[in-house]
Symmetry: C2
Subunit: 305 residues, 2 copies
């Protein structure tokens, strides 16, 4: 199965502390990293957790609050010093684009690579990116400023060729890739063998959803139905709902109820407020409703499967 995993670089909230960095994480599919959010200090976290930026071509920013994007300019500056040459795509909420462009123009003038800004501004879930490994859909969350969730869908893999058909139909080695991609096969004597006689379906595709920072968004339980891993804002502990509502965040209990409604396989909680000594209370409340809950932590890698 293709490696598909999430590495947490930071899971704190507004202010960094000695325990938690501000938000950033890496979605890694078959060794290709995609960065989601880029709080201050992300570039050092990338070094610390050995995420190589040579293949990092896409960065997704959820919203314009500093704890999700103030590490961008430093990271871009260091990529320029690394003599990067391949294009870098930044998918950012439209309100962030002008100031980000101004910062890039000022601080990252000297570089040998293109930085392409792709503004996000949608009222409904919208596909924003696709390559051979993943499809990414952005969907508006409910926060104080325009803020987007990201749903990463693994691209379907190859169909599995039935081993016994190779000899049965005399399939040459160089015909195998096209059959795995779904094409029929024509034998040496002109007989067309339909693909579904030759193959079994590919592995089921997996999905990862990132929702931070936000109030609970029940309108997306259908979009996120059966998601394999759900990262959700859990800034506050049950009992602090009033604060969560005031600041447009969620409690871990609300996140767990949402994960249950989505029939998610696993829930990963993050964006922890610095007001709590630790996150044990958050985990306890969440697991009562949704047992398959994990707590984010800097350096934690979670496989999506």
């Amino acid at each position: 199965m293709t490696p598909f995993e999430i590495t947490i670089l930071g899971c704190g909230s507004a202010k960094p502390t000695l325990r938690h960095h501000t938000t950033s994480q890496v979605v890694s599919v078959k060794g290709t990293p995609y960065l989601i959010d880029c709080g201050e200090g992300t570039q050092v976290q990338l070094i610390r957790y050995k995420i190589h930026t040579g293949k990092l071509d896409h960065i997704f920013i959820s919203h314009s609050h500093g704890d999700h994007c103030l590490g961008l300019v430093g990271l871009l500056s260091s990529l320029a010093l690394d003599n990067r040459s391949n294009d870098l795509h930044l998918h950012v909420p439209a309100d962030l684009e002008p100031i980000l462009q101004a910062q890039i123009d000022f601080f990252v003038q000297h570089r040998n690579f293109n930085i392409l800004l792709h503004p996000i501004s949608f009222e409904l879930p919208t596909p924003i990116f696709e390559d051979s490994l993943v499809k990414v859909t952005a969907f508006p969350l409910n926060h104080r400023v325009p803020c987007y969730g990201f749903l990463f869908h693994e691209q379907p893999g190859d169909r599995h060729l039935k081993r016994e058909c190779i000899q049965l139909y005399g399939i040459p080695y160089d015909a195998i890739p096209s059959i795995q991609r779904g094409l029929d096969f024509t034998t040496a004597n002109g007989q067309v063998i339909p693909n579904d006689e030759l193959t079994t379906p590919p592995d089921p595709t997996r999905s990862y959803a990132y929702l931070s920072d936000t109030l609970v968004v029940p309108q997306y339980t259908e979009l996120l139905q059966n998601v394999d891993l759900l990262y959700h804002d859990a800034t506050y502990c049950a009992g602090d709902e009033a604060l969560a509502t005031k600041y447009f965040h969620a409690t871990s209990l609300q996140a767990a109820e949402f994960a249950k409604a989505c029939n998610a396989k696993r829930l990963l909680l993050g964006h922890f407020s610095s007001r709590y000594k630790d996150e044990n209370g958050l985990l306890e409340h969440a697991t009562q409703v949704f047992p398959h809950t994990l707590m984010a932590d800097e350096g934690l890698t979670v496989a999506v499967d």
Copy 2:
């Protein structure tokens, strides 16, 4: 003697590494902190080394390269979240002012304190700030962009009242402060006692000079003559002079020669390139010329005396 010390928050160069943060340091006089430069991650370093920002009212930025200022907006954002109310003064090179103002307007909109930007743009050493504890003079360095050094001069302390004069002239308790400040004293029977009969001079004042990033600036050996502590750019090791010249930095050996020419009491080297495994070579070359050399390191506190 009034406490007057420097705490290093970061002494790396362009790119942060797992060993060194980008540049930032605190000059602390009688418990009042003044911040010089503010590379990415400075706000966490302030927490780590227990520098309280409640009394931090002045920040001095040497130049507009990201490794000296990209932590500013994050720090200001966190001060806003801390509900700071007292004015904050930012002394910054004039070229940095517009983009910094734009970032503050975007990222630090919601705050209960004033941020006052004081642009620095001088061709000669110029006093830029004075309070009851220090005088600060900015002087242009020789770097790729406008860049300033900062000379911190401790303000003169009180004169010392000769203990025996109190009884001899019947000096009341509430007359002592004015005598310590240099005024004459009139006795009960109208006799005027000149101050220099009553007191001895205050302790000699101390000074700290910060020079980073720069080629060596021999034109300032007079300005910095007898400085107590000299912090100097030592990005490169002797042998790499060509690189130092190309990028407008200094080697540790050049810094040591400059410290000697200034007759500095002690030299503190910093802004280390990440190209060297460690800084032993830099120290070795410097001490051959200037034995009283110290190496900056994160968390190091050096008293100016």
